[in-house]
Symmetry: C2
Subunit: 410 residues, 2 copies
């Protein structure tokens, strides 16, 4: 049921990262916010970059997001991002806000740039204050550069319960120039973004207007980061930030530029790749689940159905147990809050059709079980009710999810 993919002008760059685009540096340091792992990270661009961000819709937005919004509001450009893990600096009131401003100020001092060219992000436990003495020492000490090790220093410093780093890199030819886009992300639990999820940082060397970048980010986020779910909880600290510094030397991109679609595809590929890495590394996950929905009235409806399926605890546990319990999939379709025809639904698990025009099909339980033991599970749903298509990604729900979350703070 999946369409053949077209030949794409966007190519994956194996081994690439946030320092692959021209003019970007990164680094991470162990500031002592946690026992031994790096916990403060920095991204730096040689020149101010057109920048845009999307933020959590949780009403209790953490302090660093407010500071980042202020930076972006004043300058529309960013040259650096400072990030810490271990403490979310959320629900910390006025003191938390001052701490986030201090992080920005200390970074500005170190880099000798304007404060408003700096974004701030934090991730970790909610409701605790930052240990500012350690943060200050960390910012003073942090080294940054353009090697893979430097990128990995940053990628490590932003992790919490993640079991692995998430990075991505794609290139495309735009306006006759090679444009490179890199990304790093963290996120493992509290993943049900309603905007972004978790933290995502994307660097790019394209020249692009801030307005156009903002629009592209919003559009792409809705069908990538916003289409993953681990546990249905939306964090207070979610943010995806993109910086594009123009070092590739192309003509400035805008929505009517002939290569605009290529840029959007570049951003889509990078975002989807990071989003899928997050879903696969969901807390306790043993499998990545990809849900493909077609035949909905609108794309929005299809996305909603896909996310409802991938977010169902019952679907997630069945997949953990390699049980082809498609009844839970149809149940999720029926509660997604979108209009469907209850007589025309087709459900396919991998290559096996379980439900055809809403009629249960006979299938080999053994084959289905074998498929469900793979590390990537694809669910296809055809509503046969319209032309809307959508996708969502998530993971199975295992004993380890419970284990990790029953004692997160301790």
């Amino acid at each position: 049921m999946e369409a053949l993919s077209e030949v794409s002008k966007v190519q994956k760059k194996m081994g690439g990262s946030i320092v692959s685009p021209k003019g970007f540096h990164a680094g991470g340091v162990h500031a002592g916010l946690r026992y031994s792992r790096k916990d403060v990270g920095l991204i730096y661009s040689d020149v101010p970059a057109s920048s845009a961000a999307v933020y959590t819709l949780n009403q209790f937005q953490a302090a660093p997001l407010k500071v980042t919004q202020q930076s972006l509001h004043e300058a529309g450009k960013l040259q650096a991002v400072i990030v810490n893990s271990a403490c979310a600096n959320a629900c910390t009131g006025e003191r938390g806000l001052q701490d986030a401003y201090s992080m920005r100020m200390l970074t500005a001092k170190k880099l000798q740039i304007e404060e408003t060219l700096i974004a701030v992000a934090s991730t970790g436990v909610i409701g605790e204050y930052l240990q500012m003495d350690r943060i200050a020492a960390g910012i003073a000490e942090i080294e940054f550069g353009q090697s893979t090790d430097d990128a990995e220093g940053f990628q490590t410093a932003i992790l919490t319960t993640d079991t692995c780093m998430k990075s991505s890199c794609f290139t495309a030819s735009i306006d006759g120039k090679t444009v490179t886009m890199g990304g790093a992300a963290k996120g493992s639990g509290m993943i049900h973004p309603n905007m972004a999820t978790m933290l995502g940082f994307i660097t790019c060397d394209a020249s692009i207007s801030t307005v156009a970048l903002k629009k592209a980010l919003k559009e792409v986020t809705n069908r990538s980061f916003n289409q993953i779910t681990v546990d249905g909880d939306t964090s207070t600290n979610d943010m995806v930030l993109v910086m594009s510094n123009g070092e590739a030397g192309n003509e400035e991109l805008h929505e009517n530029h002939k290569d605009w679609d290529i840029f959007v595809e570049l951003l889509t590929k990078t975002s989807e790749d990071l989003a899928k890495q997050i879903a696969r590394d969901g807390e306790g996950a043993t499998k990545l689940i990809e849900v493909n929905v077609k035949g909905a009235l609108t794309n929005e409806d299809a996305n909603k159905v896909a996310k409802q399926i991938v977010g169902s605890n019952l679907v997630k546990t069945a997949i953990f147990g390699s049980d082809a319990n498609w009844g839970r999939i149809i149940c999720a379709v029926g509660q997604a809050g979108v209009e469907v025809n209850v007589d025309t639904v087709t459900i396919q698990l991998g290559e096996t059709t379980m439900l055809l025009n809403s009629v249960p099909q006979v299938f080999s339980e053994e084959d289905a079980k074998k498929y469900l033991e793979s590390d990537t599970i694809q669910i296809f749903v055809d509503l046969q009710y319209g032309n809307g298509v959508g996708k969502a990604w998530g993971c199975d729900l295992s004993y380890d999810y419970v284990k990790i979350n029953a004692s997160y703070r301790t």
Copy 2:
């Protein structure tokens, strides 16, 4: 933060059940739909009873619900309910609908009453057909009476992954007569009702108009059965059914009757009691969680916030692990989709205040841990933003939830 409860005119009747109201009989039989447990149950009233029901909002409503709707639509009265477990008869198309009609017809024949005086319900695996030969034999064999054993026969026959029977009974003096209300329910997983949850059967001997009963049921369900959640999934088979046969001999109740409020309280107490039993017996649950919200703009908002908190996997796992991670509670408040003031939120766990006017409080982790090891956990949230109050009930998320659901069909 909880108000002292007023002296109530409604009294709990210990040991009471669905056969406690005058004129009601019940029974259960092992028809062979599953290995050894009873699997077909019957409730019968000596006379036709004013009846009302609320149904799942899942679009893939199971066949028996359609038959029950048709019965209620035609007669407005019911005299019997026939229920089977093991098979939900959902997503079974035309054949499933015919099977549900056959169940009704076979029961009518046995009881020698009109078909439209009979409601049908099923619960179990979705997408499989009923074994009609066994159902028919079971209906022919089923015995019913007015003893506790008879009630327990019914209560057992409707269970699936439940670990215990759920029953309840309350009495009140209405119009100078003693009115008795009994209830039985099942439900353990796929519990996130958007109307009812699971199956609930309430019997009563009050005389009441069908119109008034319908209104009371809808209103009460919204703040009882609809306020529990186990896993966020809404079943295709949810139904709560109430039958009130008038045998108590009171003057017919209607909304303007002086004792109307007492009847509503009777229904509320019975429904809440059953709802809490279901939440406590949620799949893999070790604790009942009760969330009390006040200070919301409206009662609806307060109910939404309460349900969001009790439905959060992160809150549920923290409580399973006895971890006082209140950050997850505030995070749930912020994503409930209701307007709050982010600076005025107070959160209390048992008697310990964790957040006061949105400022984190110092508390004894040891005391909090000790409280969280109880079998009933109370969370109090005061939004200090309006006069709306609400409650919701759920359970913790344990290893056993995953275990039960990873292999439900096998």
